[in-house]
Symmetry: C2
Subunit: 221 residues, 2 copies
């Protein structure tokens, strides 16, 4: 009985995700689902991304949080269109929550949609939102053991942004061990070292987005 | 239907928690459920706590993680009795998982049991494990907005250990705003500033444990 219900929840989620994906593919919108622990720097990374790319792409943002409009307010302060989803205690975004706010965007006039998930290194990885790509942010203060201790996130994401590398001199984070652990869990995953604060490494992340966008719009339908 | 099942899950959890609590109270064992985001420093804080208090109290530790024995190994390296629970993808410990490993401890010969929950600032707060006290660890690199953005954790914990204060000079964490936010969400909660690395503030945490232990053993049954 419990297994059946869990299956139903995921079946319903996957159906909603496929409807979302259908819309994103039809309108050639690149959709990136960004996940991490609380405070790994997702919003600050998105702020820097908007500053760098907003002149070139029309970018929308969905913000997921248990409570408050704080993250959407930060994104709106940069002039971007941002919609806040409050999960009221819920630990992840699901595809139906996302579907419910999609009409707030005009996807014929949107190139890229970033979905900033609830800060949680476990639950969000289990829910397909219909995105084009899943990206995990891991921050240096969390420690290099997190990839092996939270494998479900890193086996389901194709890119890891290792953020806050400006703090490496003050902490014992072993970058090589993190890269080794990632290879062991997901050989196809890529890791980019960045600092949203010092801006180091951000160009490589922006190039990744540009490549993903080009692949997205050139896709045959 | 969904509501009923959710109620059943919590009813079963609460029943297991009450059995756990009965055992802990009967044996006058102080049980502290420690929760936080991944990488906030729970294990390092427990290591320092063991080093400081193991001469005075008989301490056991339950470690919760999705995967690996890494945290239990760190605790065992200090000579303490530690049992690792692997949730295999699960986002929190529940009272039944804890009940299943309790026979690994002799509670007539244990003064304090620390339960280090899965690193997750959302889900663990919803599950009573039968503990005497719930403690949240928040670390400076996560940012001072986390208390208002993850209210379910902070409204259900009675003590916040603000960890990694040695990093305050390098980051923009507003301690006063964190304290204000905490007051607004949970007026009874206390905040202690600590650094497991520089050891600043740890004495206040140890005093809190000693006070809690005295209250625990002096309780009438």
């Amino acid at each position: 009985m419990k297994v059946t219900l869990q299956t139903d929840v995921l079946t319903n989620n996957n159906r909603a995700a496929s409807y979302n994906r259908e819309l994103f593919e039809k309108t050639k919108t690149l959709v990136v689902n960004v996940m991490s622990s609380p405070g790994a720097g997702k919003t600050t990374l998105l702020e820097e991304t908007l500053i760098a790319l907003a002149g070139k792409y029309r970018i929308g943002v969905i913000e997921g949080d248990l409570a408050t409009q704080k993250d959407a307010d930060r994104i709106r302060a940069l002039g971007a269109h941002a919609i806040q989803i409050n999960t009221h205690g819920g630990c992840h975004l699901d595809a139906r929550m996302v579907a419910a706010v999609l009409p707030e965007f005009d996807f014929d006039e949107t190139d890229i949609l970033f979905i900033e998930n609830v800060g949680n290194l476990v639950c969000p990885s289990g829910y397909d939102l219909g995105q084009s790509h899943k990206v995990a942010v891991l921050s240096v203060p969390e420690g290099n053991d997190k990839i092996s201790k939270y494998p479900t996130m890193f086996m389901r994401t194709e890119l890891v942004l290792l953020n806050k590398i400006d703090l490496l001199p003050y902490l014992d984070f072993d970058v090589n061990m993190a890269i080794e652990d990632l290879k062991g869990i997901n050989a196809d995953s890529k890791l980019i070292k960045v600092s949203a604060r010092s801006k180091e490494g951000l160009d490589e992340w922006f190039s990744w987005i540009e490549g993903a966008y080009k692949a997205c719009v050139s896709q045959e339908r």
